[in-house]
């Protein structure tokens, strides 16, 4: 059996030329685009004074030194659970948003949506609106078309470049990196990252667009599973709109047609090229631009707005049976969204509490295992430990290491000799770093085979603070 042609197996992308539209949701999208892009491009340039021993960039992922700075918070690698907590909050935040307002993330805040939107505005600026774009797409390749295409692609490429280029500033001091970038002295990773992100932005925003949402992104599938009958989705109120008919037909046959004048504006403005009147579908990112388009037409023909509107499936059913439309706010408050919010806020509060209470001074001690003990010539037994002092403050701190529960213990570091042995060891830990001390500890040979004690550390500056760590002394 032969296949009837590859057309049935593989589908050519259908061109999408969304029409410009104005309205409440369009303006909301403008505002969100302005805010998200400002955050993305502006954040690395914010400064935050941390004193002479730490970088002054407000948000910095310092991979080289393994530090994450976010305004007044500094996170060390062993505190990475804060970042994990943030990611969990982001995840639950998405659940919350999805259960409350459906695919609002997709429609408004997803980078793919924001940049595609930006690219489409460029496209309209260069090629004109939908109809001009359609004409140009059909036109044969000539000097004018090539010139327009080159111009459009170079503007896209410019946006892609500043998009990809901005990313690297989150990982190094932005002003320095920018100078290095242009003088060709930045790390090759900076150029490679910029190149890759420029290329992906250009391709995903300029050419792939809705294909990313429909075929590549896992999130629509997950959301499909999370949406329920009480989630807001963009709904064509077919009970009100059908049977479709032009204004002329409707006037000729009063009562035979619904509110939909079949003007096709909802299809023309859709950035993913779907017809919302076919019902809920995976291609709908709920950007609500069709609501704006339809509201405008309804106003022109003197019919009430909201033929296409945000509406839950349950409300749609109730409305079909004659109930009045329910205000959007009322649909937001329900047990599921409240539960998500409670979990989300609970994690946030717990993290804030943990951040506020965390100790900025830590000690850890590791006993030498090979050999466990050494007999000295006077018969005393020596154990050795690697003691690490973590000073998480952005200034050097003098510290004193001591012993509790080990009377008679004398210690010294490998920087000194046994003659300097004392009950404490003092050192200054540099700013924002770990001091590694090798501590030799002696006790007389007579005593239990194992003696548990604690290493303590005390900051001997005005701020003070202390920490301790269990350890063990062993004899033959």
């Amino acid at each position: 059996m032969f296949m009837s042609g590859s057309a049935s197996l593989y589908e050519k992308r259908k061109g999408v030329y969304p029409k410009a539209v104005d309205g409440f949701y369009r303006r909301l999208k403008w505002a969100i685009m302005a805010v998200t892009l400002t955050i993305y491009w502006g954040t690395p340039w914010l400064r935050w004074d941390r004193g002479p021993y730490a970088p002054d960039q407000a948000v910095l992922v310092d991979l080289a030194h393994r530090r994450f700075y976010m305004f007044s918070i500094e996170i060390w690698p062993q505190e990475f659970y804060y970042v994990a907590g943030l990611l969990i909050m982001a995840g639950i935040g998405l659940f919350l948003v999805t259960s409350a307002v459906g695919r609002a993330w997709c429609g408004y805040a997803c980078p793919q949506t924001v940049w595609t939107d930006l690219y489409q505005h460029v496209e309209r600026f260069v090629d004109g609106d939908r109809n001009a774009q359609l004409r140009l797409a059909k036109a044969p390749w000539g000097a004018a078309k090539i010139a327009r295409r080159l111009f459009k692609w170079s503007v896209w490429l410019g946006i892609a470049f500043v998009t990809g280029g901005a990313w690297i500033f989150y990982f190094a001091d932005a002003p320095t990196l920018q100078r290095e970038f242009w003088s060709g002295t930045a790390a090759w990773q900076a150029y490679a990252t910029t190149f890759v992100l420029t290329a992906t932005t250009f391709v995903l925003g300029g050419f792939m667009r809705e294909q990313v949402c429909i075929y590549m992104c896992p999130w629509p599938r997950i959301q499909t599973a999370m949406l329920d009958e009480k989630s807001l989705i963009v709904t064509y109120k077919h009970w009100r709109g059908e049977t479709r008919g032009s204004l002329k037909k409707a006037q000729a046959h009063p009562g035979a047609f619904g509110d939909c004048v079949d003007c096709n504006q909802c299809v023309a403005v859709c950035p993913t090229g779907i017809d919302i009147r076919e019902g809920p579908q995976i291609g709908c990112i709920t950007c609500a631009l069709c609501i704006d388009a339809c509201d405008k037409v309804m106003a022109q023909v003197g019919r009430p707005r909201g033929l296409i509107d945000y509406c839950t499936q349950d409300d749609a059913e109730a409305e079909q049976k004659g109930a009045a439309p329910r205000p959007v706010l009322k649909t937001l408050l329900r047990p599921r969204t409240i539960a998500y919010f409670a979990v989300w806020a609970g994690i946030g509060a717990a993290m804030l509490f943990a951040l506020g209470a965390r100790e900025r001074l830590e000690i850890s001690a590791q006993q030498d295992r090979n050999p466990i003990f050494v007999r000295l010539s006077d018969g005393a037994i020596r154990n050795a430990y690697t003691v690490k002092l973590r000073n998480m403050q952005a200034r050097p701190r003098p510290m004193e290491v001591g012993l509790t529960g080990l009377p008679g213990g004398r210690m010294w570091t490998d920087a000194g000799l046994r003659e300097t042995a004392a009950t404490t060891v003092r050192t200054t830990v540099p700013a924002d770093s770990v001091a590694k001390l090798r501590i030799f500890l002696t006790l007389p040979s007579r005593g239990p085979a194992r003696q548990d004690f604690r290493f303590t550390v005390r900051a001997i500056d005005r701020e003070g603070g202390s920490a301790s760590e269990p350890a063990r002394f062993e004899r033959p």
């Binding site: 593989y10 076919e278 019902g279 090979n370 050494v374 006077d378 020596r382 000799l417 040979s445």
Partner: protein, 301 residues
Amino acid sequence: MADDKRIDPATGTEIKHHEWDGIQELDTPLPRWWLWTFYATILFAIGYMIAYPAIPMIDRATGGMLGWSSRGALDKELAARERQIAPIRRAIAETPVTALPGRPELMQQAVEGGRAAFRVHCVQCHGSGAAGSRGYPNLNDDDWLWGGDLATIEKTITAGVRNPDHDATRQSLMPAFGKDQLLTAAQVDDVVAHVRAISGQDRPSAASRRGDKVFADNCAVCHGPAGKGNRELGAPNLTDAIWLYGGDAGTIHETVWNSRHGVMPRWDDKLDKATIRMLAAYVHSLGGGEAAPPAGAGAGR
């Protein structure tokens, strides 16, 4: 066949003929760009197979046009590492060992380099933790046959102990007092009792008092009148708690009767100057290292 084609009313897409528990599958077409991506990966794979080792043959894989190999990559990494540490090795070789403590960073690098070299060259006798074993000194403690400051340790490593082909080798020759009949069996018993007494393991006895005299006549010339040893001669301190071969009466008897002549190879013909210096720094750092003795100081403690 064409007439039993069923179309899904909602999507307009053909429904496949199979069915599981009432669940049917739509024959939704893949996007064409996906097909191009698939072809591109095939092309990439062909290119990769030409450029890199790919197809397994009987005893090796095809070489690939770029000549890449994992061994070659490793060699490159090792060479890069060598280049990186070459200036450190040079600096260590050019800095006298006694000057190392004055340069803490270089000292630290020397200790770490020595730690690595120790694992290759020294652990066979001294153990991985340098704790030694019977007859092989523990390098962690504060008891040194020849001295525990940096320069002395370096000299011992360089020349070895009782090494026949090195002029400056550490050399000490304790006679086999019993075997060579320099002392009678009774005298050996007495001197063993004396050593047990001065090391605080036994109370003084009649035998140890007799041994005192034997010790003074035969042993004190190297071990010192009080038995505290002499590092110039490599004679161990007999009064401390550390015994290279064992401090019980039987072992001390065996030592006096047969003598002990432990050996260590010279390392200056196997290792370069920097490595020996790093080994000295590492051994010194283990906890028993001593400060350099003041100039002109004689016998050990």
